[in-house]
């Protein structure tokens, strides 16, 4: 497994401190997993042919690199709760004749930099990458979705959304007797449901 050049990937967001971090490597096959990050560089190679869920929590300073290799059909739901400084790079590679929907949900309380690349180079494949972001407090969030489809017989889609409680939504929910604090709690509860 080759570790990518994070300095290049995250450019201005990369901190020199990361150079001294240990690297933890894992190979995962067709399994849902949870990861609590703690001052390390995590490198996960994930081979998939079925649906999985991933939960990732960071309270310190970490880099996470997930390399997904998808054969046949696999939907991935990933929830990231960040309360520290997190750089996360997802690379999703689709094999030929594969279908994958990749959904990323980020709850950010602090500093989050994400780059997710959906790469479809092989034939007859279809993939989607959807990102949702929920922010609390004075946060710094950067989401960079990248789509690379180089085969004419394949298709790819991507989108990013920031979850916000707009004034008309709040007014409606207030009219049902729900106060602002409870509205935020309900939205959070639903957001982390994957």
């Amino acid at each position: 497994m080759d570790i990518p050049d994070f300095k290049q990937i995250f450019r201005k967001y990369y901190d020199k401190e990361f150079d001294n971090y240990d690297i933890e490597k894992k190979i995962i096959e067709n399994e849902s997993f949870e990861l609590k990050c703690n001052k390390k560089i995590y490198f996960n190679e994930i081979k998939l042919s079925k649906n999985i869920k991933i939960k990732l929590e960071n309270e310190d300073k970490s880099i996470v690199y997930n390399r997904f290799i998808i054969k046949d059909k696999s939907d991935i739901k990933m929830l990231v709760i960040n309360k520290g400084h997190l750089l996360i790079y997802n690379e999703i590679l689709l094999d030929s004749n594969s279908v994958s929907n990749f959904e990323e949900r980020y709850v950010n309380y602090d500093k989050l930099i994400n780059r997710s690349e959906l790469i479809i180079e092989k034939e007859n494949s279809k993939g989607s990458l959807n990102q949702y972001l929920l922010e609390y407090g004075n946060t710094f969030s950067v989401l960079i979705p990248i789509l690379k489809v180089t085969n004419y017989s394949s298709k790819g889609f991507h989108g990013s959304k920031i979850v916000k409680i707009l004034p008309n939504m709040q007014f409606y929910l207030n009219s049902l007797g729900i106060n602002k604090k409870d509205i935020e709690r309900l939205i959070f509860e639903d957001f982390i449901y994957i």
């Binding site: 949702y132 929920l134 979850v163 707009l166 008309n168 939504m169 007014f171 409606y172 929910l173 207030n174 009219s175 049902l176 007797g177 729900i178 106060n179 409870d182 309900l186 939205i187 509860e189 639903d190 957001f191 449901y193």
Partner: protein
């Protein structure tokens, strides 16, 4: 009982309701009709204290002055307003919302109601009002209204975008709500909709003013002559 006294309402400094005086007694069904822009929905939104509106006058509900009460507190007193155009809340599932609101959350009963209302099978898993047609939103509004079991219902254009068959169902539901002791305000510009409803009073609004309060006999007059004669 809802009492509205000398109510003036302003939106962005423009007067949109002018000296409204109205009493809605308990267990009464009152219809508010009038042409578009006459102030019907503004009156409803003033009752639930839409912060975008500035008010003068008083609104009393069951001896509590609710004129400047927070919207959620007004709701907790037992008032339900079904929005004409409810917001689409993609990131809040109806199931989560109802579980929070209902002490006796009964999923089977809610699914049964959903089927009765021809709502999509996955309506509990969808975001609240998210990706629904106008008619479906109205149906969902009604479903939420029934489940919440409030005392005063304000239905704003609940018949809009609804087929005739389902309109009959809505009328039956309103009549049943009345029988069970609820108080109901129906806002509509479709006067025909009121025909089979046990309406006690019909209030006609025009240019932000109440211009007539009468019984059901007004329906034929409005049907024949419109609002121009008022």
């Amino acid at each position: 009982m809802l009492i509205i006294e000398n109510l003036n309402v302003y939106a962005e400094d423009k007067k949109i309701l002018d000296n409204i005086n109205l009493v809605v007694k308990d267990n009464e069904v009152i219809a508010i009709i009038g042409p578009n822009g006459s102030g019907k929905s503004s009156l409803a939104r003033a009752i639930i204290n839409d912060q975008k509106l500035k008010k003068e006058g008083k609104i009393i509900y069951n001896n509590t002055d609710i004129t400047n009460l927070e919207t959620e507190e007004i709701a907790r007193l037992g008032i339900f307003y079904s929005f004409q155009e409810p917001p689409e809340i993609e990131n809040l599932r109806l199931r989560t919302l109802l579980k929070f609101l209902l002490k006796d959350y009964d999923e089977n009963k809610i699914l049964e109601l959903g089927r009765e209302f021809n709502l999509p099978e996955d309506f509990l898993d969808r975001g609240v009002f998210y990706n629904y047609s106008g008619g479906e939103k109205r149906k969902l509004n009604l479903l939420i209204a029934i489940l919440l079991n409030k005392d005063l219902y304000i239905f704003d254009e609940i018949d809009s975008g609804i087929d005739i068959e389902f309109q009959k169902k809505i009328k039956n539901i309103i009549n049943e709500l009345k029988k069970s002791g609820k108080t109901i305000m129906i806002i509509t510009h479709n006067i025909k909709f009121l025909k089979d409803i046990d309406v006690d009073k019909i209030v006609v609004m025009k240019d932000g003013k109440i211009i007539s309060i009468s019984g059901k006999e007004i329906i034929d007059i409005v049907e024949k002559y419109g609002y121009s004669g008022f």
